[in-house]
């Protein structure tokens, strides 16, 4: 009996054929074949979403190849899943994204939980390091009170802490403005050069210390 194959094309232009039962495990591919009649030959290869590059496609097909076999026990499936998600965080993110674009819900679920386990219990700095996230929030935005619709005591505590830090931040900023005004005043008075230099030095030192404090906090 001739095996049926489905033709798939990834965003980089490369085309490959995949066993039908494996490819059809992905709802998005299933839809293209049944509703639009695509995938039957090289010329009519199914264009996969951009998020699915050849490496991710290979991983996803491995997953499908294993799970589409009906006779497997839950123990076998769970064991496979546990080994399958052992990869670095970057790949896990790419895989989640690719699986989502192919509407492969069980795989999205599996990888999402794995990523949640990675995030759980870590500080924002640690999370930024692991996920290579930019530190692009201002101090105020980081300290914004959190919506606490359920009156969660832990969030209440966090918000109180943030309010305190926001207050401290405001005080320092007020001080900065006062010091710069003072500096300007001195300059306009045209004091003796040496005195002016000392004052400027003192002010710039103070400003430097302020900046250090804010960066630390």
């Amino acid at each position: 009996m001739m095996k049926s194959y489905i033709w798939l094309q990834t965003a980089d232009g490369s085309i490959q054929q995949v066993e039908q039962e494996v490819a059809m495990f992905c709802p998005m591919i299933c839809h293209e074949v049944i509703q639009k009649g695509m995938g039957s030959s090289k010329n009519y290869a199914i264009s996969l979403p951009q998020r699915v590059n050849p490496a991710m496609l290979s991983l996803i097909l491995d997953y499908c190849r294993f799970h589409q076999v009906p006779g497997r026990s839950n123990k076998e499936r769970k064991s496979f899943d546990e080994k399958f998600i052992r990869m670095d965080t970057k790949r896990l993110c790419e895989l989640t994204s690719a699986a989502d674009s192919l509407q492969l819900k069980p795989l999205v679920d599996l990888t999402s939980r794995a990523l949640a386990r990675i995030i759980e219990g870590k500080s924002p700095e640690e999370i930024r390091e692991i996920f290579h996230l930019p530190d692009d929030l201002t101090e105020e935005e980081k300290l914004e009170p959190l919506k606490n619709t359920t009156d969660d005591p832990r969030i209440r505590l966090l918000n109180r802490l943030y309010a305190k830090k926001r207050k401290e931040l405001k005080e320092r900023q007020k001080l900065k403005v006062t010091v710069s005004c003072f500096c300007f005043y001195f300059l306009t008075l045209r004091l003796k050069k040496s005195v002016l230099m000392i004052v400027q030095l003192m002010i710039s030192c103070h400003l430097l210390m302020e900046t250090m404090e804010i960066l630390k906090g």
Binding site: N74, K75, K78, T89, K90, C93, E94, T96, S97, D100, V108, D109, S112, R113, L115, A116, R117, I119, E120, G121, K122, S123, P124, I127, R128, F131, H132, L133, P134, D135, D136, L137, E141, K142, L143, E144, L146, K147, T150, D151, D152, P153, R154, I155, L158
Partner: protein, 370 residues
């Protein structure tokens, strides 16, 4: 940025996080910040807990009052919770949603209290009208989960010994009920002497409520079941398969029906369901391999315990021995067997292999107002 995941995928990942982890994720970068703010419901842990599985809470039976351990079934890991907010060491009686009904162990007379180990809230219930020792306690949860995070409930106290009018002690025949809606105890009926004696002498571990009847099972063999039909005020008793051979037995509610789990020496552990006419039908057997793994080389089921929620049955031993689970799958009406690894370490610190008592919780962080 390679990890610029689309919002809806990110929201799904966030929905598995606890509230404070979500707060920290929110303050990492602009993209994640915007996601949490755009999808407040989807990322809400609270909503998740309403639809997801109950968590297994392991209370050490010795060294009470220090810590307890809780297993998150969503991401399959263990957490340590401090119990230092408890004024006295306690023993669990029943779970009511996110709360546990407990009994302080240093008190011979029955005293009950409610606590939420996640929010560290604790409150004694008022004392019952009649002071008694060793009674059976039954709990009925009234509202369904949709009505709010902490449903109303009723506690029934039956049997036990109270002070006789002319000194000494006597078996207490009055049945009392605590209603959370008015925070008071009422005498609602009577217990026939034979049941009162059995409930006192064999003080049952848990009660199970199913189809309008509150059931208790004797705490040792030969096992037998007593049922109190609440609306009709009727008591009845019936037997249990292999009543004198079972080395452990537990009564629980599965899919609304009364279920019995028990294991006999040298044999397999079985699950029975109560059918018409108070007869038991065998519905499952614990897979041999998993049973053996749990027993850890021993042949006797004596140290095994069992606890159930509506959608899962857990067989366990000690904190580190692992658990055999029979659980309802995502597609309803299909149940499957799983193994859950025991708790050996948390956050890098080793955890002793303590004997535990398990209880199910649906954790939430809402303060209770009972």
């Amino acid at each position: 940025m390679w990890s610029n995941l689309p919002f809806d995928v990110l929201a799904k990942i966030f929905s598995f996080l606890s509230p404070d982890s979500l707060a920290r994720a929110r303050s990492t970068c602009r993209h994640w910040n915007a996601c949490v703010d755009t999808y407040p419901i989807a990322t809400s842990f609270i909503l998740l807990s309403l639809h997801h599985r109950a968590w297994f809470l392991a209370l050490p039976t010795r060294n009470r009052g220090e810590h307890c351990y809780v297993h998150n079934p969503v991401i399959d890991n263990w957490h340590l919770l401090s119990l230092d907010f408890l004024p006295d060491p306690v023993r669990p009686v029943a779970s009511i949603g996110a709360l546990i009904l407990v009994r302080p162990t240093n008190c011979t007379v029955l005293q009950l209290a409610l606590c939420n180990p996640f929010t560290r809230q604790f409150r004694y219930l008022p004392m019952s009208n009649i002071s008694r020792t060793n009674p059976a306690v039954g709990v009925v949860t009234l509202d369904s989960v949709q009505h709010g995070p902490n449903p109303n409930f009723r506690v029934y106290v039956a049997g036990g010994m109270s002070e006789a009018p002319r000194g000494g002690a006597m078996y207490e025949l009055k049945l009392e009920m605590y209603d959370s809606m008015d925070d008071t105890w009422h005498v609602v009926g009577f217990v026939p002497t034979e049941f009162a004696v059995r409930l006192t002498v064999w003080t049952p571990n848990e009660s199970v409520y199913s189809n309008g009847v509150l059931y208790w099972m004797t705490s040792a063999r030969a096992y037998s079941v007593m049922g109190y039909e609440i609306d009709g005020h009727r008591w009845r008793g019936f037997g249990v398969p292999m009543a004198d051979k079972l080395e452990f037995a537990a009564l629980l509610c599965r899919n609304g029906g009364l279920t019995l789990v028990g294991g006999a020496s040298e044999g397999e552990a079985c699950i029975w369901e109560l059918k018409e006419g108070d007869r038991w039908g065998l519905i499952q057997k614990v897979p041999m391999e998993m049973g053996r793994k749990l027993l850890g080389g021993k042949r006797s089921w004596v140290s095994i315990k069992c606890v159930g929620s509506e959608e899962a049955i857990y067989l366990y031993k000690e904190l580190g021995s692992g658990m055999v689970v029979w659980r309802e799958m995502e597609e309803k009406a299909r149940w499957a067997w799983f193994w859950i690894e025991g708790c050996h370490s948390i956050g890098g610190n080793q955890v002793p292999n303590l004997p535990i008592k398990g209880v199910f919780l649906r954790p939430n962080l809402f303060p209770f107002t009972f």
